[in-house]
């Protein structure tokens, strides 16, 4: 390794992951997030006290991959279903994985009110700027000019508005305790001997996942937005899609902490 950074990699089986192969497309970061969450459930020893609320979109099959109890919600309603579980069983850990369409379009009200009430659940939102599962339609997070199957001439802000900034919006809500935007996309580092990739983003993302669960222990609402690619529906080669996130999306969706009421981000 050329860069001097140290981190521990746990080798061996992750109990919170099942042995099912995932259905995610090549290059998709959904599988990465699934694994980061599974590793965190293992580290915190909370797998058997965790209920995942599956949403509608590419995350809907997560019940095949994460080895905990699941309730599969209707499109957009995962935070409300999660709130129901948590209100009846406050000692359980409850989290969702939702797409940008699920959490910010059809389910925006549920997302906002879960945050506003400070419901102690953890919401993970995958922002890939597009509806993946349905085949590449415009999402609330689609960038102006971006071509999707329902914006075939590029997203026109005069008609559809501009991209939706979830972390800024939810970060302003006083009931939310932790709002962070992270990226699941590796970064290229130019190197004379060829391209080198750094996984710093993934390590930060992992930290955000853990912090989000910590916040739940402290009784607060946490939302982490993850930038991700969708090379299949963006119709881009995988590496080009990753560059698109690192060069284009990141400008409109800056990474960072948008709210941290309990100060869990401190090293």
């Amino acid at each position: 390794m050329s860069q001097q950074s140290t981190f521990k990699i746990k080798v061996g089986k992750i109990e919170s992951l099942t042995e099912n192969p995932t259905h995610y497309c090549a290059g998709c970061e959904h599988g990465t997030l699934t694994k980061l969450i599974a590793a965190t459930l293992d580290e915190l020893h909370i797998r058997e006290r965790t209920v995942m609320i599956d949403s509608v979109g590419c995350s809907v099959l997560a019940y095949n991959y994460l080895n905990c109890d699941h309730v599969v919600a209707a499109h957009g309603r995962a935070p409300a279903v999660g709130a129901g579980v948590k209100r009846l069983r406050p000692e359980l850990y409850v989290f969702t994985i939702q797409g940008d369409g699920d959490a910010l379009s059809i389910g925006l009200s549920e997302t906002i009110y879960a945050a506003k009430r400070g419901t102690p659940i953890t919401v993970f939102v995958v922002n890939n700027g597009i509806y993946g599962m349905t085949g590449g339609q415009m999402a609330p997070t689609t960038l102006p000019g971006q071509i999707t199957t329902t914006t075939p001439y590029g997203r026109d802000p005069a008609l559809t508005g501009t991209e939706f900034d979830a972390s800024t919006l939810i970060g302003q809500i006083d009931g939310a305790a932790y709002v962070r935007r992270a990226s699941l996309v590796v970064n290229e580092i130019p190197n004379p001997r060829g391209t080198v990739y750094t996984i710093k983003n993934l390590l930060d993302a992992k930290k955000a996942v853990k912090n989000a669960f910590k916040v739940q222990t402290l009784g607060g609402f946490a939302l982490v937005e993850f930038l991700s690619t969708c090379s299949v529906n963006w119709k881009m080669p995988i590496l080009e899609a990753k560059r698109y996130v690192n060069e284009q999306m990141i400008k409109r969706f800056p990474l960072g902490v948008y709210r941290d009421t309990f100060g869990v981000e401190k090293p």
Binding site: R47, E48, R49, V51, I53, D54, V60, Y63, N67, C68, D69, H70, V71, V72, A73, A74, R77, A80, V81, G82, A83, G84, V85, K86, R87, L88, R89, L92, S109, E110, Y113, R117
Partner: protein, 358 residues
């Protein structure tokens, strides 16, 4: 509450009936004429008399409230919501999912006049939506139709029993009258419910395989089989859980079929007409699903004729006609818009049904 009579509204009785049954949580969105239900249940949080009642949350919409109900009920708890027509329409999303995921809970629709905003007067125009599975896909709710404040109080227990026995949502279909009417009501002491939820409820997965409550199955054959199990359950319910009331039907030439508040008016009319020597009786479905098809068919086979009366333009009458299978004539009297038929109107209708000798 002890075994003494209390004077209260139907909506309040429904709320206390649920608390007496052991309600754990209520998820609300206010709508007239059902709002006394959430108002009562908001007040009773923390009342030591109901130690099992843990939580009341007012949601941002009926889409959110029904989703919270699904989450809460997924843990095996006794959970409830109530609404009226426009809210019931939004609830349909969650009801479709819950029926497929086989999540038991209680919901009440205190039916108002529709469609659209309509008004806040009584109607029974949500009958189709209630009994045929108002959301997408093929499913059923148990539908109980109370006709008194006493039944508003006692049906929550019946409803939760059915819900947990069959792992299915149960609907109490009232109307603006049964909700707003004030009557004497008794709350008998109930045994604490002890429903076995260990095979499906989410929570502690310690030492067992994960429980997955899910309505999705991408494999067509598997989805066919999963749904076949649910349809078998519905057929079992149709065999075993039908409830109805008959009043003076044995020698009747004409039988009024009416549910909910209309059955009260009809019963009074039967009494009046009997005094005039007209042989008329009353058949009152208590479960609107499963519908008392066999009992009606039996009356039809005896040559009796029917007058179906509803607070709509004719909905249950379709099920009555299906039940009698063309064996005999079924007349209809409907009122809507918040109006109800008077005894005199019913008398007039009966006396103009030609078969009845004046």
């Amino acid at each position: 509450m002890s075994d003494q009579k209390v004077y209260m509204k139907g909506n309040e009785a429904l709320a206390y009936g649920a608390l007496e049954t052991g309600l754990n949580a209520y998820f609300a969105y206010p709508i007239t004429p059902s709002s006394e239900i959430p108002e009562t249940l908001a007040r009773e949080v923390g009342n030591k008399k109901y130690p099992k009642y843990k939580c009341f949350v007012q949601a941002a919409s009926e889409l959110e409230s029904i989703s919270m109900v699904i989450g809460g009920a997924s843990t095996g708890a006794l959970v409830m919501t109530a609404t009226s027509g426009p809210g019931f329409s939004l609830n349909q999303e969650g009801l479709s999912y819950a029926a497929c995921m086989q999540i038991p809970f209680l919901i009440a629709d205190i039916c108002r006049s529709g469609p659209g905003l309509g008004n806040i007067g009584p109607e029974q125009s949500d009958y189709f939506q209630a009994t045929k599975g108002g959301g997408h896909g093929h499913y059923r709710l148990f539908v109980l139709a109370p006709n008194s404040v006493q039944e508003m109080a006692s049906f929550p227990k019946l409803g939760f029993d059915l819900a947990f026995k069959y792992r299915n949502p149960v609907l109490i279909l009232g109307d603006a009258y049964t909700g707003q009417l004030k009557e004497d009501v008794e709350f008998p002491t109930l045994e604490a419910p002890n429903y076995d939820v260990s095979s499906w409820a989410v929570g502690d997965s310690n030492g067992r395989r994960p429980h997955i409550l899910n309505s999705m199955e991408l494999d067509y054959q598997k989805h066919y089989e999963n749904m076949e199990q649910i349809f078998k359950k519905y057929r079992r319910a149709e065999e075993k859980e039908v409830l109805y009331e008959e009043y003076l039907t044995q020698d009747a030439e004409i039988v009024i079929v009416a549910f909910g508040i209309v059955s009260r008016i009809a019963r009074a009319t039967v009494n009046t007409l009997r005094k005039k020597g007209i042989r008329v009786g009353l058949f009152r479905p208590v479960t609107l699903w499963p519908f008392p098809t066999k009992a009606l068919r039996k009356l039809a086979s005896e040559g009796k004729r029917f007058l179906d009366i509803e607070l709509n333009a004719g909905q249950m009458v379709e099920d009555v006609r299906l039940a009698v299978g063309g064996e005999t004539r079924v007349d209809f009297l409907g009122k809507w818009g918040g109006l109800v038929p008077t005894e005199r109107e019913i008398e007039h209708k009966i006396q103009t049904v030609e078969v009845v000798a004046a």
